[in-house]
């Protein structure tokens, strides 16, 4: 049987460092959408039991070591870094999207300025703290943005991974030119 090799969605486009800002590809492992089927309490309990994770409120994320859960929309959260426990299938719509999203870490002084040129939402520390997350658009691309330890975790559909890098590069160059 043919042995298939996983390809990096960013090929050789990353890492990227311009001025004080850098973009690095992130392999998050398993990504699973958990769709709320109407019994939020049951989903919260199952997630706590199985993965030691609190079910995030809207615009928030939770973590337990390398396992994370980020809010992804009005009735969806994303489980990151672990295969979903079988018990979750009883209380949620469970969909494996591991190859559906491409992730990067955006960090460095000026990361906020780069996002300000691409995303129509304020992500400065004063209003968007560590653990906060949101859904918006990076230019025309759907994006999930979460503030973490070193900056921002950005997720976009894998099909637009290269376009996101192109947009980030252009914004990073513009920010760097004004310093």
């Amino acid at each position: 049987m043919a042995e298939l090799k996983a390809q990096n969605p960013f090929a050789d486009l990353l890492p990227l460092k311009i001025g004080g800002v850098s973009v690095d590809a992130r392999d998050l492992g398993h990504l699973t959408v958990l769709g709320d089927l109407g019994n939020r309490a049951a989903l919260a309990e199952a997630l706590e039991q199985a993965h030691g994770l609190a079910l995030p409120e809207p615009l928030r994320s939770t973590e337990n070591g390398a396992t994370r859960c980020i809010w992804l929309g009005s009735s969806e959260v994303l489980l990151i870094g672990t295969p979903p426990d079988a018990a979750l299938t009883k209380v949620a719509a469970v969909v494996d999207v591991s190859d559906g999203w491409a992730a990067v870490q955006l960090s460095g002084v000026g990361a906020e300025d780069v996002l300000a040129r691409l995303v129509p939402v304020d992500v400065r520390t004063s209003v968007f703290e560590r653990g906060h997350t949101l859904r918006s658009q990076l230019r025309e691309m759907p994006v999930s943005i979460t503030r973490n330890e070193g900056g921002f975790l950005l997720l976009v559909p894998r099909s637009v991974a290269a376009t996101m890098v192109q947009e980030l590069r252009r914004a990073m160059e513009a920010v760097a030119s004004r310093r």
């Binding site: 809207p58 615009l59 009005s74 129509p120 859904r135 918006s136 658009q137 759907p142």
Partner: protein, 90 residues
């Protein structure tokens, strides 16, 4: 123009998709008759004043919203989750 999403907060208009009059929440019964269905499908008020639309926060949380706005002043007076509005109608 900005819309106050009940879930995400104040967001730029470009994140939202406009669907049309909020009449779609009040779909007639299948056997309501041709006249009722004709009104539902084709006849819309064109008010100079308050109107209610369905919008989707497509570039954000994905929720469907009922937006009450004034076509004269462009002021938005209310934004509600369509699921809440529908539940209240039951």
């Amino acid at each position: 123009m900005r819309i106050e999403c009940p879930i995400c907060g104040s967001r730029d208009r470009r994140e939202f998709y406009y669907q049309g009059a909020a009449v779609a929440l009040d779909r007639p019964a299948p056997d309501a008759g041709d006249a009722v269905w004709d009104v539902y499908l084709h006849l819309r008020d064109n008010p100079a004043g308050e109107t209610r639309d369905l919008w989707q926060h497509e570039g954000g949380c994905g929720a469907w919203l009922v937006v009450t706005r004034d076509t004269v002043t462009h002021a938005i007076s209310a934004v509600e989750l369509a699921s809440d509005v529908k539940r209240a109608m039951a």
